[in-house]
């Protein structure tokens, strides 16, 4: 076979393979799917427990701040948008621009954490704990579990920002950025379901 044809075939098959691959390291997707499964079980458990305690859940839900939940949704959606722009920048080889977008996303993650701490503090100050009732057991466990994922996402973003500031990525090597971005989008994806389920639907 003509060596040039072999090369063309390899290039084409590589580009096709790359196009169909999940963005970032495949290992993060195993983690993402596992986390989604864990949250999915909790979402469904919440819904079926509510079915047997509708009045209790509706009354307890009224004590939550929908405004805080909605602001946090907008904060996470916007931070995800910043991450998309950061990935687009690194695909053009722009490390500094990528770092700037991801720093914006990181700071918005900090805003989310701050609002959640205020929410948690208000509940604890009112002597509300996980043992108060079934609604608060789910509310506190679901939102705290998610809160820990936001913190983990912020640590990942911080590591990528440091590397991008050192120009460690390039237009050919940006798997690390995509890996962190995928995790951050998962955090956003899960909150998009959690917010209406726990704060709004009644």
């Amino acid at each position: 076979m003509n060596p040039n044809l072999v090369n063309i075939h390899l290039v084409n098959s590589n580009s096709t393979h790359h196009k169909e691959d999940l963005p970032g390291d495949f290992a993060i997707w195993i983690f993402i799917f596992a986390e989604m499964l864990a949250f999915g079980v909790l979402f469904v458990a919440y819904a079926f427990t509510r079915a047997n305690n509708v009045e209790l859940f509706n009354a307890s839900q009224l004590t939550l701040s929908r405004t805080s939940g909605a602001i946090n949704t907008l904060v996470l959606i916007t931070s995800s948008y910043f991450v998309v722009q950061g990935v687009a920048a690194i695909k053009r080889g722009l490390n500094k621009q990528c770092a700037h977008w991801l720093t914006g996303a990181f700071l918005l993650g900090g805003v989310f954490v701050g609002i959640k701490i205020v929410e948690f503090h208000a509940k604890f100050a009112a002597d509300i704990t996980m043992s108060t009732n079934n609604f608060y057991m789910f509310y506190l466990s679901l939102t705290f579990f998610h809160f820990m994922h936001v913190l983990m996402g912020m640590i990942i973003l911080a590591c990528i920002i440091v590397k991008a500031r050192r120009s460690a990525y390039s237009a050919q090597d940006y798997v690390g950025v995509e890996t962190g971005a995928s995790f951050w989008h998962m955090v956003d994806f899960l909150w998009i379901i959690l917010f209406p389920l726990v704060y709004i639907i009644r």
Binding site: R50, L74, Y81, V84, D188, I193, P196, I201
Partner: protein
């Protein structure tokens, strides 16, 4: 800047604006104190659209194999479907 580059920058911004609008719609339904089967299904439909926009355009799964998009869509159909079923059980 080429048209392609301009469009590729504009598209994520459009998706972001749609997500913001859908979040405001969700919040408004909550603030109005509306409840019932129709409202629940509307909220779940809005949530499904938002989750799929994030999966396909922010996570960039639209460029991947159908299998990955199907997993993300199937996830919402199963989880959202069970939530709807549980809600309907609670109405009785």
């Amino acid at each position: 800047m080429s048209n392609d580059r301009a469009q590729s920058k504009l598209f994520p911004t459009t998706i972001w604006l749609v997500l913001v609008a859908l979040t405001i719609a969700t919040f408004s339904l909550g603030e109005a104190g509306l409840s019932g089967k129709g409202v629940m299904l509307t909220l779940l439909a809005i949530t499904m659209i938002k989750s799929q926009l994030v999966a396909n355009y922010f996570m960039a799964l639209r460029k991947t194999k159908f299998l990955w998009r199907a997993i993300m869509f199937g996830y919402f159909i199963i989880v959202g479907g069970l939530i709807a079923m549980a809600y309907l059980m609670g109405l009785k």
